[in-house]
């Protein structure tokens, strides 16, 4: 099956083409089935290939498709690399992708752009698979930009709404800022190593100057910052919630935004070799985590809360990457994919039940009305908050333990982040599902549990969120850590844990205790005292206002980038281009013209004058030749 790994991206591509060309002509059911089955087929191939890889000793498999770009020494084949890392990502993408496709057939059922939605979604999966399967940076970059495009199309899916379009455009452009860094990084890799194939360059990295390695690592990280919404390029992700909820689950939580993590893990050699780069990654990661978590505290839009939570969790992953815990970060990507997809889909189910309402202040008391959604979301919330033995606990704990051995300050910030996470997640849960219903009567009447096509993925994901932890059980418990073992081949420079078992136990206990106490605090606040978020912005205290408005980061960017760009552009056009440069050009013309009009005075049309001047001229020349001699 490994030889046929190209089938994995091929199926979604076929699904995309079929829906793209015939989607409008066929029924919604058929259109949805084609799209879902395409992903299911990919998933089956991925599973088979995965099993084969696990039993094989050949961990790096290269599958050549065709030769793509050749330019002198730069040879870029269209080539796939199937190794433990990509095999895991394939499973996540196709597995969760399939569930979300199934969910979407229910969620999008009444939308007029039904087949268009699945066209985009299949295309997205195709590009995402290219991203993780590519055997060189450029194929990854193809997927990288491709998923950006699909993200653009899906965020702006309801294209009549200007705000949504703006969000889509913002996502694309901010991603492109990162992409430029990524592209320059790729070029620097080529110039340094003479190749950009994963299988050729990493072994040579040791002999390259540290400054170059740092530059490469940082440039790649710029790309990762854009795609994975890290400071300061994160503001597009919360806005991206404009897209349909399944999109938020698939693209903006489970898969695309983890591409940044993927690329850092893929290039882990560079980061292990460069302290500057890895420190940068860790610091940016933890700051993003903390920053986004605080914003999440006061949001009222259910999807925005989850979006900031995603940013924050991604920050945590980068913290893990920065401290060299690559396999832990991948582990967290996996568990995060489970529970965050679950939470988004659950939120979608809530929104569906509420008839499109996203404001948690208008909800309340939904636990009895939509039971499956409530229970699955509860499980997801527990998982993200880090309560054992749910999956999130294990992955988060691994990252924090590694951080502790690296730097106590980073660890402390990470701890605070996870406490904040537990708080705002339970805040959301309590406000949405408990207390009194605060919406309109029509909404209350409308409340209903979602169809099976939507609850089925919730149940599967909830199960995975609960048991996902077995993929990476703590080694100091004496249990096998499959995740760590699996990625052994991929991570070239090892970074073994040096903490004593005693410390690890203490850290773990501390994490659990703090999460539990924060949840209790949230419980007293929102369940006992029934505190509700302020109805109007004016009721907020000044510091709350700052957080509520996301620290005015968008406004800040507006002032320092967008407005100056527009202003400079206008100056360029109106003044520099039209006045100065074109002015000079026209000035030359005008000068010639005015000289002409002076000289023209001599041409008065009097023949006698012409003749006299001619004779004078001849006489003058003759005299001149005599005199000069």
């Amino acid at each position: 099956m490994i030889k046929l790994i190209a089938l994995v991206p091929l199926f979604p591509l076929l699904g995309f083409l079929m829906n793209g060309f015939f989607g409008k002509k066929i029924s919604k059911g058929l259109s949805g089935s084609i799209a879902s089955l395409a992903i299911l087929a990919s998933f089956i191939v991925s599973v088979l290939a995965f099993i084969e890889l696990q039993g094989s000793t050949q961990k790096e498999n290269i599958i050549n498709i065709f030769s793509w770009i050749n330019s002198g020494t730069l040879q870029i084949p269209f080539e796939f690399l199937y190794d433990p890392l990509s095999s895991l990502f394939l499973l996540i993408i196709t597995g969760i992708g399939f569930l979300i496709h199934v969910y979407s057939t229910g969620y999008m059922h009444d939308d007029e752009g039904f087949s268009r939605f699945f066209t985009y979604l299949n295309l997205f999966v195709f590009f995402m698979l290219l991203l993780v399967l590519g055997n060189n940076y450029l194929i990854t970059f193809v997927g990288w930009e491709g998923v950006g495009l699909c993200s653009y199309l899906l965020i702006g899916f309801w294209f009549k709404n200007t705000a949504y379009n703006n969000a889509a455009k913002k996502a694309f452009i901010m991603n492109r800022i990162g992409d430029l860094g990524f592209l320059l990084g790729i070029i620097l890799i080529y110039i340094t190593f003479g190749s950009i194939s994963y299988t050729e360059i990493f072994d040579k990295a040791g002999s390259v100057s540290p400054a170059t390695i740092t530059a490469i690592a940082l440039l790649l990280f710029v790309g990762a910052m854009g795609k994975s919404a890290q400071l300061p390029l994160y503001t597009w992700l919360p806005d991206a919630m404009a897209g349909p909820t399944p999109v938020s689950a698939l693209i903006h939580a489970a898969t695309m935004v983890t591409a940044g993590v993927f690329i850092v893990v893929r290039s882990n050699v560079f980061y292990s070799l460069s302290e500057v780069a890895s420190h940068t990654v860790a610091v940016v990661g933890v700051l993003t985590a903390l920053f986004a978590a605080t914003i999440g505290l006061l949001q009222n839009d259910i999807k925005k809360i989850l979006a900031y939570s995603t940013v924050s969790q991604l920050g945590l992953m980068f913290l893990g990457l920065g401290v060299g815990a690559y396999s832990s970060a991948v582990f967290h990507v996996t568990t995060h994919a489970f529970f965050k997809a679950l939470l988004f889909l659950g939120a979608g189910s809530v929104i569906h039940a509420m008839g499109g309402e996203q404001d948690i202040r208008k909800m309340g008391g939904l636990s009895g009305k939509i039971k499956i959604t409530f229970i699955t979301m509860l499980l997801g919330t527990i998982a993200i908050s880090g309560i054992p033995p749910f999956s999130g606990f294990f992955s988060k704990d691994e990252i924090l333990a590694h951080t502790y051995e690296h730097s106590k300050i980073l660890w402390l910030l990470g701890m605070i982040t996870s406490m904040l996470t537990a708080f705002y997640m339970f805040r959301m849960l309590f406000i949405v599902f408990f207390g009194k219903f605060r919406g309109t009567h029509a909404q209350e009447h409308h409340l209903h549990e979602s169809p099976t096509s939507m609850t089925f993925p919730l149940i599967v994901l909830a199960t995975l969120s609960v048991i996902g932890g077995v993929l990476g059980l703590p080694q100091f418990w004496g249990l096998p850590n499959w995740m760590h073992h699996n990625l052994d081949e991929v991570i070239k420079i090892k970074n073994p844990s040096i903490l004593s078992h005693e410390t690890e136990w203490k850290l773990m206990g501390l994490a659990v205790a703090s999460a539990a106490s924060v949840i209790y605090f949230a419980y007293t606040l929102f369940m006992k005292h029934k505190v509700l978020p302020a109805e109007k912005e004016s009721q907020l205290k000044p510091w709350q206002k700052v957080i509520y408005n996301k620290y005015y980061v968008d406004e800040f960017f507006d002032i320092i980038i967008r407005k100056p760009l527009d202003a400079i552009s206008t100056v360029f056009y109106k003044f520099l281009d039209l006045q100065i440069i074109d002015g000079i050009v026209n000035g030359v013309g005008t000068a010639v013209k005015s000289i002409g009009s002076i000289v023209r005075l001599a041409q008065q049309g009097n023949i006698g004058f012409y003749i006299i001047s001619m004779v004078m001229g001849i006489v003058f020349i003759v005299l001149l030749t005599f005199l000069v001699k």
Binding site: Q603, Q604, G605, N606, I607, G608, I611, I612, V615
Partner: protein
């Protein structure tokens, strides 16, 4: 030289003729007179050519003169035709009135 007349006299005569012609062209406004003055200048040159031709015993100077005379004859025909056309259109052959090109 011919009958002992020095070349200088020929030169002098030719120069005088040429200057008369040139001044006439410059000073007069009547097209016919200007035309005659041009002929005068041509003949001054012819005279010079013939003189030097004899001086150097070289026939080519005289050949030139024949050419010039032939061309001048043709030129007179064309020139006078133009003048008569001008007269027909402008009712005058005063060159100062012919400044339409200026516009």
């Amino acid at each position: 030289m011919i009958n002992g007349i020095s070349i200088n006299y020929y030169l002098l005569l030719s120069t005088v003729l040429f200057i008369i012609g040139a001044v006439g062209v410059m000073a007069r406004r009547n097209s016919i007179i200007i035309f005659m003055c041009i002929e005068l200048m041509l003949n001054a040159v012819n005279l010079l050519l013939v003189s030097f031709s004899t001086l150097h015993n070289d026939a080519s100077g005289q050949v030139f003169v024949f050419f010039i005379m032939a061309v001048a004859a043709a030129e007179v025909a064309v020139g006078l035709a133009i003048l008569s056309m001008i007269y027909r259109n402008v009712k005058s052959i005063d060159t100062d009135l012919l400044s339409n090109l200026k516009k």
